[in-house]
Amino acid sequence: MADGVKPRVKAPKSASAGEVVVLKTLISHNMESGQRKDKSGNPIPRSIINRFTCEFNGTPVIDVTMEPAISTNPYFEFEAKIPEGGNLKFTWYDDDGSVYEETKSIKVG
């Protein structure tokens, strides 16, 4: 599932130093659980995003281990503390080895 994967992130463009901001992320992905069967009764192999991380200037914010019970198009909402201006880096790791990345810069002032 390497095609049609599109990460989307909602983050504020600016914040005051030390402010806690809410981040919302969504990535389009089938998240095939491995439990379903196709028409002829064969199990469809598992294909999910198994890990999601968020870093701010290299410092970890959140690291999520995901299992097949996460819905299609995984959505996460969480909070981050912004001590200074910099970049938020979001990374998704696919079962097939693909890595999807998205970066958002936040200004402080």
Binding site: V64, S71, T72, Y75, E77, F78
Partner: protein
């Protein structure tokens, strides 16, 4: 109604299987909890788990969880074929130990959140979600 010896044995075996099966389902969740806590005692309270009482569609059930002072939170769906849902590890810059996501539930069941606190203790919260249409296909 008379039972032959063979029928009686078959009935007995069926009854044993029925009592053992639900126990195994729970055991998978218990194993996952033990792996996360390392066998430590889990206290009640201190974790807020927000889940709908009734979910019409088990494919996307909105769940949010928060626990003040937690370093990690594990979410479990005890009645799913595999009980694990997600584990959040909060880093240095996490604004608060809280997160929301959408999960799949196979049927009506308990959703469990277990938080690992900064001092190494564990706390949990449970919430029962009624699911109208299960979300694991089949």
């Amino acid at each position: 109604m008379d039972f032959t010896r063979r029928e009686t044995l078959a009935l007995g075996a069926g009854a044993v299987a029925l009592t053992v099966l639900p126990f195994r389902v729970n055991a998978a969740a218990e194993d996952a909890i033990a792996a996360f806590t390392g066998g430590a005692a889990v206290a009640d309270g201190g974790v807020n788990l927000t889940a709908p009482e009734i979910a019409e569609n088990g494919n996307t059930v909105p769940i949010s969880v928060s626990a003040e002072g937690a370093t990690a939170i594990m979410l479990l769906a005890a009645g799913n074929p595999t009980p694990g849902v997600a584990t959040y590890n909060f880093g240095e810059l996490a604004g608060s130990a809280s997160a929301s996501t959408r999960i799949r539930l196979a049927g009506t069941q308990d959703v469990v959140a277990i938080a690992k606190m900064a001092d190494g203790s564990f706390a949990q919260a449970r919430s029962t979600v009624k699911v109208t249409i299960g979300g694991c296909g089949g």
